[in-house]
Assembly symmetry: C2
Homo-oligomer: 467 residues x 2
Amino acid sequence: MLDALFTFLDPAAILRGDDMAKWQSDWTHSYHSTPLAVVRPSNTMQVSDIVKWANTTGTAIVPVGGNTGLAGGTQNDGAVMISLDRMNQIDEIRPDARIAIVGAGVILSTLHDAVDAHDLIFPMTFGAKGSATIGGMLSTNAGGSNVLRYGNTRDLCLGIEAVLPNGEIINLMSELHKDNSGLNLKHLLIGAEGTLGLITRAVLKLSPKPRAYATAMVGAQTLGGGLTLLNTLQEATGGAVEAFEYMPQAYIKAHLDMFKTAKAPFDNPHPANFLIEVGAPAPHDCAIQSDGSIPVVTQLETSLAALLETNDIQDAVVAQNEAQRRAMWERREQAAEVVLTQGPVIQNDVAVPLDQMQHFLDRASATLAQVDPDATDISVAHVGDGNIHYTVSPSSNDAAHKDKIVEAIEDVVQQICGSFSAEHGIGISKRNSMKRRKDPVALATMKTIKQALDPNGIMNPGKVYPD
Amino acid sequence: MLDALFTFLDPAAILRGDDMAKWQSDWTHSYHSTPLAVVRPSNTMQVSDIVKWANTTGTAIVPVGGNTGLAGGTQNDGAVMISLDRMNQIDEIRPDARIAIVGAGVILSTLHDAVDAHDLIFPMTFGAKGSATIGGMLSTNAGGSNVLRYGNTRDLCLGIEAVLPNGEIINLMSELHKDNSGLNLKHLLIGAEGTLGLITRAVLKLSPKPRAYATAMVGAQTLGGGLTLLNTLQEATGGAVEAFEYMPQAYIKAHLDMFKTAKAPFDNPHPANFLIEVGAPAPHDCAIQSDGSIPVVTQLETSLAALLETNDIQDAVVAQNEAQRRAMWERREQAAEVVLTQGPVIQNDVAVPLDQMQHFLDRASATLAQVDPDATDISVAHVGDGNIHYTVSPSSNDAAHKDKIVEAIEDVVQQICGSFSAEHGIGISKRNSMKRRKDPVALATMKTIKQALDPNGIMNPGKVYPD
C-alpha cells in the first residue's frame, strides 16, 4: 500500500519499524502511537503528493511537529505520520520590513538565534522552544509567556502556505499588515490542529529587540492582587510589561524538590509569587547612567518599592544580572516538567476573564475539596492572559473519577464565561470537554466546515471534533 | 410576502417606500439600491427570526451598518436590508479587564466617548467614525490610521455573537485572551462582509489612554524614505508611534482647493508629507517639566531635528496645542471627501510589503502613463501598514478603459506580492479583481465554505465571491 509513496519520495524520507521510535510516544508519555509509517517530505510539492495519495486511498494523515504538545494531538494508530522536520529552511529575513519567511519545520529556538543577528526578536517563547516547530506552533496557535505583550502565534503570522485535505496547495503567503480580500482562511487553518490541512510555510512578524530587561520576583498574598499590580506596572512603564507569571508556594516547593540546585526566590515563603519582566525598547530606557544604574531597572525598583510601602506586595527581588534573570525564568519554564511528570495528573488549561482569576482559584479549590477531598491542586498562570494551568493530582487514577473532577472544574469555568482550553488545544484529551462545553451551534458549524473541506476525513482523524 | 415579518417585529421596525431613502444610496453615491424593505430589529432573537424567515422563503438579506463603506457592500435590488442601528447598547465597560461588550449598532464615536470616561480608548479610528457601526467595522475588518500600533478591527475583538445563514445564533462571546477550543470561527466571520452571517454583539479590547500626544507634520522628498524614518522613530520612542500617514503634494493642494479655511502644512511645498503621532503612555513621558516642556514632545522634536540635520527630512512642524493637532488630523481624515467626491475616480486600495512602497508608486505611475497618458493619480497611504490608497482620475469614464487601468495597476501589485484589497474589502467593486488575482485554491475554498454554511445563498448575495 505504501509502495506508491516510493515513486515520489526518496527512501530516507519513509521511516518504518524501529526507525519510527521517536514518534511513537509523545513528550509526556501519556499517548502512544503505532503509525503505519512516518514520512518526511523535503518540500511542499512532496507534501501535496502525499496528501493526494492519502485522500485517494483513504489513508489517515497525522501531522507531527516537535511532538511537545500536551493534548495528544499526534496520537494515531495505523495512520501515516507526516513530519516536516526536513522543511527547516529560513528562506528570508527582511529587517526593514520586519518579517521572516520560514519552512514549517524550523525549530523555534533556531529562529530566535537567526533573527537575533539582526537585533530583532520573534517574540513567541515557551519551555519547549528547543524542539517545537513553527508548523506545530501555528497548527495549535501556541501561546506562552509573553502573549500579554506580543499576542498568540496567530497574531505573529502574516501569511501561510498550506496543503489542503484534497492535496491542493493554498497560497496565503501574504507579507501584508492589511489584506481584506475575502474570507480569512489563514486564521481558519491556524489553530485547526492539522484537521483542515498542513501548514508548510509561513511569513512571521518580527519585533525590535528590547535593549534591556528588568526582571523581578514578587511575593504577595493572592493571585487576585496580581491584576492590580499588572495594571499599575503597565501604567508606570507605558505598557512595556513583557511577562507576568504566577506561581503559588506549592509550586515553588515542588520545583525545589525536583531541581536540587535551584534556590528559593525569597527567604520567607509567600502564598503568591510573580515573575515580572519589563522590556526597555527605547534608548533612554536602557543607557547605563553615570551612577551605574539602568533606568528601566530603576523604574521597576521604584514601582515595587512603592507597592511594598503600601503593603500591596510583601517581597520583591530584582535580577541584578543575566544569571539571576535566567534562574528566575528557568523556575517558570520548568513548570511542565515539575507539574506533569510527577505521576498521573489532570491538566486543566483554562482561561478566565482577567478580573475573575482569584474567584476561579477559590471556587475550583472548594469544588475539588468536595469532589475529591484527598486530591491536591497546583497552578501556574499567565496573569496577563487570564490563563491558569490548574493541575490536579487526584486520589485515584480511575477514569470515571477523573472525569468527574474535570466536569466539576469545567462547571466553575463555564459559570464565569471561561474556556476549558486556553492554549494547549483539544487534540484527543479535550474532545469530551468540547462536546460538553462548546456552544452547540459553534460545534455544528465546525463540523460542517470540516466535512466540506475534508469529506474523506483523512486529516488528523479522531482529534478536535467530538463524535 | 413581508406579512410574516409583522408577526414578530413592531411596525416601526419595517421601513418601506420613502422611509428607506437613507439606505438607498451609499455615501459615495456610486451605488444605488431598491430594497424590498429595510428592517430594524431590536435584539438578536429578532435578527434570528428574520434570517430564519429569509432562509425559508429564499429572500436575500443585505446587512447595512453606517453605510460608509467604499466597495458597494450594501448594494442590492429586491433584498431585505437589515440594519442593527437599534441594537446600539453598550452593555458593559469593565475597566480592570479592559473590555467593552457592545451591540453591533453602536456607532464608533459613541464608543470612543463612553470609554474615555474610564481613561481608556477603543483605539480604532478613521474619518467615518461618526457614522460607522461596530457591526459594519467587524464585517469588513475595518482598518484606519492606527493599525500600526493597535491592529485591525479583528485584532481588537475578543468575541462575537452572530446569526448564521440558517438563523441560528452562534455564541462566541469570549472575553478571553487565549481560547484554543476548535476552529476560529470568530476570525472567519470577521471580514466576511456579511456573507456568512450577521454579527450582532461583540467583546472589544480597550487600551490605556495615552496621557499625551506628540504630533508632527514632516516634509520629505519621497514616500520611500518614510519607512526608515518610521523605524528610526520607533526605535527612539520604544514603539510608541501611533500613526504614520503619507500625503503627496498633489493631495495637499487638492485639500486646500476643497477646504478654503485649511492651511498649508509648510511655507514651501514638499513632494512627500507625513503626519506622525507618538503616544505617551507612561507618566514620565508626559509630566510637564519645570521649563513648561512635555518630554514626549521634546523627544519627537529632538528626533526630527537630528533627521533635519542629516537631510533625511526637509521640514518639520510639531503641533504646539490641541487645535494644531486637530488641524493636522482633519487634513488627513478628509481624504475620502477630497479624493472620492471630485468626479469619477478609480480607487486602488492596495497593500504592499513595507519595503516596496516607493517601488510601487514609481511603477504604478509609470504604468499609468503608458495606459492612459492623460490620467492623473493621487495617493494617501498608511505607511506603517504598507497600505496605499492609489486613486486614479482616468481620462475617460468608459468601463472597459477603467478596467484596463485597474488591471495594469493590479499587475504591478501582484508582481511585488501585494494585495488588491487592503482595508476597503471586496463588496461588488472588487469582485473582478478577486477572480483575477486571488489564489485560485483560496477562492475555491472560500466558495466551498460559503456553500456549506449558506446553501440557499441568502446572505449578502452578489458580493465578495466572483461568479
